[in-house]
């Protein structure tokens, strides 16, 4: 018996080592692409609010790390054009060229998402699960809510940000996005939205 568990243990150590190698390889692959000096400066500005590693430490400011590249690109264009006016962002996006936006989106999409801000409350996570299943969140946001193309990552996103965003969607106050999101949560209660945010962040 002892022998067997010892064998398993050494297998376990080997596995852990292999995983370590794999994850550091993955980390290497995640190194953001090189950007111009002008954009490097801009990225530093982005990071003052959205976090040094792209994971926001500020209340209700979204994390950008690991968001789908296409989602970031789309939102930056919509903010620049005034379709989705965000007061805090207006000054930073108004002069961006299409190429700047492409580079910024590629950069932030390659950073590793880590949940910041309020921690998911297990009771709310449990409450949010069936709501998320009923509303078919995975249909658009991906199996692990990791985000797909123009649709954002929810997994690891700040809970306080997601609650505010969903309230805005429900009130048609989040222009620019496909109206599918407003449709999905039109009849969700405020309690549902809070539970959904805790559930989604915890994925």
């Amino acid at each position: 018996m002892a022998e067997r568990s010892g064998k398993y243990r050494s297998q376990g150590i080997f596995l852990a080592a292999a995983l370590l190698v794999a994850s550091s390889l993955q980390a290497l692959a995640q190194v953001p692409p090189p950007v111009s000096a002008k954009l490097r400066e801009r990225i530093e500005v982005c990071k003052t609010c959205h976090g040094a590693d792209g994971n926001s430490q500020m209340e209700k400011i979204p994390s950008l790390a690991g968001q789908p590249e296409y989602f970031l690109l789309n939102q930056l264009v919509l903010m620049r054009e005034g379709v989705r006016p965000v007061k805090e962002m207006a000054e930073f996006v108004k002069d961006l060229t299409d190429e700047d936006i492409q580079s910024l989106s590629a950069y932030f999409s390659k950073l590793v998402p880590i949940l910041t801000g309020p921690k998911p409350d297990p009771a709310l996570v449990a409450k949010g699960k069936p709501v998320a299943e009923k509303l078919l969140c995975v249909s658009c946001h991906g199996k692990k809510l990791e985000g797909v193309e123009q649709i954002p990552r929810l997994s690891g996103q700040r809970i306080d940000y997601m609650i505010a965003a969903m309230r805005a969607y429900r009130m048609d106050k989040r222009p620019g996005a496909d109206t599918t999101m407003s449709a999905a949560i039109a009849s969700a209660s405020d309690g549902d939205l809070v539970a959904l945010a805790h559930y989604a962040a915890s994925r």
Binding site: Y70, L73, N74, V77, L78, E81, G82, V83, P85, D98, I101, Q102, E133, K134, L136, V138, S139, C140, V148, E149, Q150, I151, R170, M171, D172, K173, P175, G176, A177, D178, T179, T180, S182, A183, A186, S187
Partner: protein
């Protein structure tokens, strides 16, 4: 290319005034958002949980990425790129001076495409609007419908680089402010009235037909509103038969009721049937009772479609052809752009079809522009959105995802 880019950035500067105007606070018109009576039961549809709306690139691809080589047409027809660089461009209307105005959805822009000695320049004449899909032109003025906001740009063709502040007609038109299914389609009818789409603010729900789910018409100034056809989920394209002057409109079928339907509809409003009911939400396609909103005799009194346009096909623009360039067999037939499905496991549409009106009031559907859908790979290369006849009889087709228009001409035997 650089000339186009320069014109685009000039357009940005010029559009600032219009933008500020477009962002003025909305007037209060009832509760915002979607219907809370939506009865969608996606889980019971049996459809894959991975279906989601497709993205629309907000940055137009370069001309060498536009899938012109994929397009297939009947013998004697040819496709070429007419214009490009108008990301998300959909609806088209041509002004007498030759400017083609183009509406869009999420990207919020109105474009002007100007022919400069055989090369097309693209200008942005308004931006920051909410789904400005409804555009129409008359007497020197461009009408832009951005959900419930209505703007009229006077003497616009002479002022493309400085459109100035438009006349706002929002209050007069008094349209519902909900965004969903309310990206407008509008057109002046043969009676000189402005016809306006108002969609259902849900996938499937009860609606008040006096407020939405219909086509209505107005005097150009927004007075004299009356409802022309009711029970419509979401029409985003209509036109009038050149001889009978009857209104024909496409209507998009509901989602999450299976991969095979209910099919989109091509409907006709017969002269003696104005104000008729077309079935939403109770009765779909050619007589399918809804599975979520149930009433007895769901299809009683419902005007049936002239033709079915395919499951989840997203039939958008429709135009009857009256030109002399195409063979006589195309005279007075309708070209219909099918944007292509999202709520279907095997993709469908992404093409332009022909609808041939029959003596009994129905229509026969035939393929026309194909090749943008790869059936084997279940992927698409482009999304035809609207069609427009040019003065020389060529047909322009807008492709929303490629930010381009294709000019379809005919040079074969007649």
């Amino acid at each position: 290319m650089s000339a186009i880019v320069r014109t685009l950035s000039l357009g940005f500067a010029a559009a600032v005034a219009a933008t500020a105007f477009g962002l003025s606070p909305s007037i209060a018109q009832g509760p915002p958002g979607m219907s809370r009576m939506d009865k969608t039961n996606a889980g019971a549809s049996g459809q894959a949980r991975t279906l989601r709306p497709h993205r629309t690139p907000p940055i137009a691809p370069k001309p060498d990425k536009i899938p012109l080589d994929k397009i297939k047409l009947p013998a004697g027809f040819k496709a070429e790129i007419y214009s490009h660089g108008h990301a998300g461009g959909r609806t088209m209307v041509r002004a007498p001076g030759g400017t083609i105005f183009m509406g869009s959805r999420a990207i919020g822009r109105v474009y002007a495409i100007v022919d400069k000695g055989g090369k097309r320049e693209v200008k942005i004449i308004a931006k920051g609007l909410t789904h400005p899909n409804g555009i129409e032109f008359r007497n020197g003025s461009l009408y832009v419908f951005s959900i419930h906001r209505v703007y009229r740009y006077d003497i616009i063709e002479k002022n493309l680089d400085k459109p100035g502040k438009p006349v706002e007609l929002t209050k007069a038109y008094n349209l519902p402010p909900e965004i969903h299914h309310n990206w407008k389609y509008v057109a002046f009818g043969p009676d000189g009235k402005m016809y306006v789409q108002v969609g259902a603010n849900c996938n499937i729900c009860e609606i008040n037909n006096g407020i939405r789910g219909h086509i209505r018409r107005y005097n150009a100034d927004g007075t004299g509103m009356e409802i022309v056809a009711r029970g419509i989920r979401n029409t985003v394209g209509f036109d009038w038969h050149p001889e009978t002057k009857e209104l024909w409109f496409t209507d998009n079928g509901r989602d999450w009721a299976g991969n095979e339907g209910p099919e989109d509809e091509l409907n006709r409003v017969a002269k003696n049937n104005e104000g008729a009911f077309y079935g939403f939400p109770y009765c779909h396609a050619n007589g399918i009772a809804d599975q979520n909103v149930k009433i007895p005799n769901a299809c009683a009194g419902v005007t049936m479609p002239a033709a079915l346009l395919g499951p989840h096909a997203a039939a958008l623009g429709i135009k009857f052809y009256t030109g002399a360039m195409f063979p006589a067999a195309y005279r007075n037939v309708a070209f219909i752009a099918r944007h292509g499905s999202w709520n279907r496991e095997n993709k469908y549409g992404y093409d332009v079809v022909v609808a041939r009106p029959q003596a009994d009031g129905s229509a026969k559907i035939e393929p026309f522009l194909q090749g943008l859908l790869d059936n084997d790979g279940n992927k698409f290369y482009g999304r035809p959105s609207y069609v427009m006849q040019m003065p020389d009889g060529a047909l322009l087709v807008s492709d929303e995802t490629n930010g381009a228009t294709y000019r379809i001409s005919y040079s074969g035997a007649k």
